[in-house]
Symmetry: C2
Subunit: 326 residues, 2 copies
């Protein structure tokens, strides 16, 4: 598939009918921008870093959109559109092109987002995707990670650690594997391949949260970032951390707790909610179909303290993925 056909036959059908001129122009025109403004985020995925060379192109494309939409969801915004730049190691085959387009189409339908434009270039090395995504801002002041306050209750959505365990399974670095049923293994593998942005939390977050972000690099590191940005600290009650059955088995069989705390790739929402609103937030999230769990609270000071079963307190290392670790 050459560059022109790739765009015309595989990408153009994904383009926003209203804004993207069928990808025939070199720019999109967002002619009716939401009055409340836009939330803008960008994340790139690289083969061999963020996904495996043998991952299906459809899964990779889906994930590239999902990790960006996850940021939009954590800002209580509504997905609107995205640009995609692709660096391809070789001329795409029809199977690659149609797989990629199918993954994008599936993600677009799931998240309510449309392609606005992009660029396709030759990569000199592993292939990569870079997405910039736009969301419609919520009817509240910008929701960031900067405004958590001591006393706020800390929540996370869903369960933690599944994707990190899935990644270890993929890598063959999983002493816990024998403790998992086939169903557990399928669960953690899918959680790694197919993150699900928590778009259902839009209204509860917009109405009640003082700060929020998605957890992409592990709870320890991302919560440390939220605390640093908000100039406060946090206490986390370790035995409240929400685990799937699969993760519970893995953690029981193996000291795999670091997957839960700092494994990354969770794409769950971490939110600080003023105590006075916490019950209402919790109930609104449940009504929206998104389970959230109270895991601790924001405190004055700095750093993240883990409170372990039995009452032992230990500073959690702000550990997570550094792209340029030596």
């Amino acid at each position: 598939v050459n560059e022109i056909d790739f765009i015309a036959h595989y990408l153009a059908p994904l383009a926003s009918p209203r804004y993207a001129h069928g990808l025939k122009d070199d720019a999109a025109h967002l002619v009716d921008v939401p009055q409340r403004g836009l939330v803008i985020t960008a994340d790139a995925l690289v083969c061999g870093v963020h996904f495996f060379a043998d991952d299906a192109p459809a899964d990779v494309a889906y994930k590239a959109l999902a990790v960006n939409v996850s940021d939009i969801a954590a800002k209580a915004a509504k997905p609107l559109g995205y640009t995609l730049t692709l660096g391809l190691s070789e001329r795409p085959t029809p199977a690659f092109a149609s797989g990629l387009a199918a993954g994008l189409a599936e993600a677009q339908a799931a998240f309510g987002i449309e392609l606005l434009g992009g660029d396709t270039v030759a990569a000199k090395g592993a292939w990569w995707l870079s997405v910039t995504a736009f969301g419609e801002a919520p009817p509240c002041p910008p929701l960031t990670r900067l405004a958590a306050k001591p006393g706020d209750v800390l929540y996370v959505s869903g369960t933690l650690g599944d994707a990190a365990l899935g990644l270890r399974l993929r890598r063959g670095d999983a002493p816990f594997a024998s403790a998992l049923t086939a169903e557990h293994r399928a669960h953690v593998l899918r959680r790694y391949l197919r993150p699900e942005p928590r778009l259902g939390l839009r209204d509860p977050l917009g109405a009640f949260a003082s700060a929020a972000m998605d957890i992409s690099d592990g709870l320890s590191l991302d919560l440390a970032r939220l605390c640093r940005a908000s100039a406060c600290g946090a206490n986390v009650e370790i035995d409240t951390l929400p685990l799937s059955d699969a993760a519970r088995q893995a953690v029981a069989s193996d000291p795999a707790m670091d997957a839960v705390l700092s494994g990354g790739d969770d794409y769950e929402v971490l939110a600080a909610v003023p105590r006075v609103h916490s019950d209402t937030f919790h109930a609104a999230a449940a009504r929206a179909g998104v389970p959230v769990t109270r895991i601790g609270q924001i405190v004055s000071g700095n750093g993240v303290t883990g409170i372990f079963p039995g009452g032992q307190r230990k500073e959690l290392a702000a550990a997570g993925y550094d792209h340029f670790r030596t």
Copy 2:
């Protein structure tokens, strides 16, 4: 420089004070979106494809913004902000990080654009940059390449072929080199390294053009695209094509005319202007300090015909860069 310091010390000073939260959050909030909407474009550069491994990081960073702003300029829009994703082959050195930041800062000042956010990842191979840029839409219907009409006068800004000649010089593939003075050589090398988006054409384009685009892949290919998108053809009078002194020398000494027609990297504006407005457009561009040259006209039919000195007519091949040429 690790990832956190790279963002905090080199990139955060470039961030939009109003929209980007000092890059401390994972999304920007474009809280006061221009009512007329946004023009959105994305282009990526890869080392070894779009620039040389020994290009200064400052030049590469400048070019990454310039080629995106060139699209914004060709849509009669006003640069506003951009996201940047970076794939780096190795942990950045302080020299690399400060060079990159200096090039971005210079481009931001030149083009009036601010950093909104982005992502830094490890590349597995050559390093690359991907930019998505936003501009404030002009007070006219979207200016695209889709609405040229037979009878429209074709204009290009500046001169053509310089950057392509500069690229050949860099590659050592330049039989014309001996015909150039040191000053000529410096000129074409700079035109390759430092494209200058034609922001001065904003008002003339917005007021008078029926279609416009920037020339990034060579006049022949880009004009063919404009004609296809507008369902029309074009005649180009070859001896009117604007050449710099350097390009004139090169073309005289060597059959280097293909650099002018299909060399690419010009980043000049190609515009179709209804005949009734053409003199006014020409004068307005001159007043704005941007030289434009009438090179032909839009005709009914399809394809791009070159009219050569002496009257010979020849279909110009829609030749240009294909990233996946076998």
